[in-house]
């Protein structure tokens, strides 16, 4: 597949007399294929927004390579900017202009037909409120306007930083549906979000960043599978057989945790093996369920940001990886 977005070894270092040296991006890699909805995940301060700003020419990197739509950045940015729609961080607009004025000025600057403004206003559900000043908008409405501004160019690549922020449940569902429709129409979407359930639902692939480095990437199901650790829950017809079953499976090299009424197994490649091993000992399985992991647990595991009782995790307090999974 063709890569629409490529980043290799991207570095950005901030130097401050007070705070010293901070590597916001520390050799970050990313690749997004054409036509995908790609999730870009990371804890606060991990370098997501820095990556997007660097990609869009707002921040100068200290090193690394970037390409958009097959063209090297930053040299080709003016040439590809017309094909890239983006919102970065919270939506910010001039408060005294209406949504129509805001989009109209952008459309004029981009030499786009005026009718495109009405099209995107319709698309994001702001048609009837387009004449009102932006300062009267709720956060969710500003978010819709931001998405509208990114869609205005009818871009080949859409980069959205927290597009669901401030949206009501209906709005989140609409946004999800919109992303799917856009991807179906051939647009590549890069989605940065903390709503991991949403990402899991709508994204084809993900990149997870922590402390400025990629810790995981790939198709969502592959990332989940890679971190499921082959967990399987096993119940037997007779609870009293659990110790014998645990012993049998342990001897076969399976990691076993005995619970009150079942066993939890880890490192199982093929669940059928478990069934066969136990049956050979006259132990009959009543339930054999692979335990699925979700993106949230993978994210928390990879970034080491799961809450610990009694501790207050600080921003930037995250895992330090040395060539993470898939890196």
């Amino acid at each position: 597949m063709t890569a629409v977005l490529e980043i290799e070894g991207l570095r950005k270092t901030y130097r401050s007399r007070k705070r010293g040296v901070r590597h916001a991006l520390d050799g970050f890699d990313m690749r997004v294929e054409a036509g995908q909805v790609h999730g870009f995940l990371g804890p606060n301060g991990s370098g997501k927004t820095t990556t997007l700003r660097t990609l869009l020419g707002l921040i100068r990197p200290n090193g690394g390579r970037m390409a958009l739509l097959g063209q090297e950045l930053p040299r080709a940015l003016p040439a590809v900017a017309g094909q890239v729609g983006a919102i970065v961080e919270s939506p910010q607009f001039f408060p005294h202009f209406s949504a129509r004025d805001t989009l109209g000025l952008l459309a004029q600057a981009g030499e786009l037909p005026r009718q495109r403004v009405d099209e995107v206003l319709e698309l994001v559900g702001l048609r009837d409120r387009a004449g009102e000043r932006v300062k009267t908008y709720s956060l969710g409405m500003k978010q819709r306007l931001a998405v509208a501004s990114a869609l205005l160019k009818n871009p080949k690549l859409l980069i959205l930083d927290e597009p669901a922020n401030g949206l009501d449940p209906g709005g989140i569902r609409e946004m999800r549906s919109l992303m799917r429709d856009l991807a179906a129409a051939g647009m590549t979407v890069v989605l940065s979000s903390h709503i991991l359930g949403e990402i899991q639902l709508i994204c084809d692939s993900v990149t997870i960043i922590s402390l400025g480095r990629r810790v995981a990437y790939g198709p969502v199901d592959e990332v989940l599978a890679a971190h499921s650790q082959g967990a399987v829950r096993v119940r037997l017809e007779a609870v009293t057989d659990l110790p014998q079953a645990a012993d049998t499976l342990s001897r076969a090299g399976v990691r076993v945790t005995t619970e009150a009424d079942h066993l939890m197994l880890a490192g199982v490649d093929k669940p059928a093996t478990v069934s066969r091993l136990l049956a050979e000992r006259g132990l009959y399985v009543s339930e054999l369920t692979p335990v699925a992991v979700d993106l949230e647990s993978v994210f928390l595991e990879l970034t080491a940001t799961a809450p610990v009782p009694g501790q207050h995790r600080q921003v930037d307090q995250s895992t330090k990886v040395e060539g993470g999974w898939g890196a």
């Binding site: 700003r53 020419g57 940015l77 900017a81 983006a86 970065v88 910010q92 952008l106």
Partner: protein
């Protein structure tokens, strides 16, 4: 070109631009209207009445003088001391003369377009420069602080071209406002001169001189607009330009004046910006060093220093250039976060 037109539209749509333009027009119209009421056409009848009044005042003064001399003589005859009360020789040396009663003093104020309009050009330039400063600073300052500049750069990722186009749109607007309002301002005062004052001796040379004054006014207005724009862009906030203006005023007009006074630096006013603003409009300002005088040795002709409008051009031009270069350099180099 589309960006330039967009920025012109954006500037025209801004509330602060519209509000300040209305205030500027109302303010200038108010000054012109008030001034038209304070000026009176000096007709032959008014001049004749002033002459009659002056003659009357002269005759009354002579009468009073004659009575005073007579009173003095009477007092002297009574043996009273008169010198302290009436002066030497009973004040005979102080006889009023006709030329002491100029009829002009009895005339109402009449606006003289030729002599006085240059001052009003400076007033006009001051008002429009204030407009240019606030509009220029807020145009880019608000764009930075509300995220508009970042949005625009996502569409047009050419930083210098975007900033330059924005500034060009600002200066074009300010130039348009200055020229149009300047034309109305000139017309208004010419009409005041024509119908409520005088427009005598307004020759082609006078118009040429007024034109040059107008050009200098346009120059200072554009320079101030550009400086405000550059300062706000440098600080990425409107308040940066306003703060810098207050700081420069405080340092130049208060701090430097106190410092040169304490250190007795000759021609201290040459270090003060308002001297150069004055020289810009008046064509030149003469500074005197009275401290060099030794009055004990008699009358003194103090040393002089001439500050010309060319000196002002150098000072303001250099100041504007430094701020503009810094703003564009920062735009090119600094991250946009």
């Amino acid at each position: 070109m589309s960006l330039f037109v967009t920025e012109l539209r954006r500037l025209a749509k801004r509330r602060v631009t519209r509000l300040l333009l209305v205030l500027l027009v109302l303010g200038l119209a108010g000054v012109a209207t008030a001034f038209s009421f304070s000026s009176h056409k000096l007709s032959k009848e008014v001049v004749a009445a002033a002459q009659v009044e002056a003659d009357h005042q002269y005759r009354q003064a002579v009468k009073d003088w004659e009575r005073t001399v007579a009173d003095c003589d009477a007092a002297k005859a009574r043996g009273e001391a008169t010198e302290e009360r009436f002066g030497p020789n009973c004040g005979r040396d102080w006889q009023p003369q006709p030329e002491m009663f100029d009829p002009k003093w009895n005339l109402p104020y009449q606006f003289d377009f030729r002599a006085e309009f240059p001052t009003f050009i400076a007033v006009f330039a001051g008002a429009v420069a204030l407009f240019a400063f606030i509009v220029g600073a807020s145009f880019v300052g608000a764009e930075w602080s509300t995220g508009g500049m970042m949005n625009l750069l996502l569409w047009r990722p050419k930083r210098l071209a975007v900033l330059g186009t924005k500034m060009a749109a600002l200066l074009t607007t300010v130039l348009g406002v200055t020229v149009v309002l300047g034309a109305f301002w000139t017309l208004a005062f010419w009409l005041i001169g024509r119908y409520r004052g005088t427009t005598v001796k307004v020759t082609a040379g006078v118009w040429r001189s007024i034109g040059l004054d107008g050009l200098r006014a346009v120059g200072i207005v554009l320079a101030i607009g550009a400086i405000a724009f550059a300062l706000a862009s440098l600080g990425r906030h409107t308040a940066m330009a306003l703060g810098a203006a207050v700081a420069v005023f405080a340092i130049s007009e208060i701090g430097i004046r106190i410092a040169v006074g304490v250190l007795s630096i000759p021609f201290g006013d040459r270090y003060v910006l308002s001297t150069y603003a004055q020289a810009w409009f008046m064509k030149q300002v003469k500074l005197f060093d009275y401290d060099a005088c030794q009055f004990a040795k008699g009358q003194c002709e103090p040393a002089e220093l001439l500050v010309t409008w060319q000196d002002s051009a150098l000072v303001f031009g250099l100041g504007a250039a430094v701020v503009l270069v810094a703003a564009f350099w920062a735009m090119r180099k600094r991250d946009i976060a």
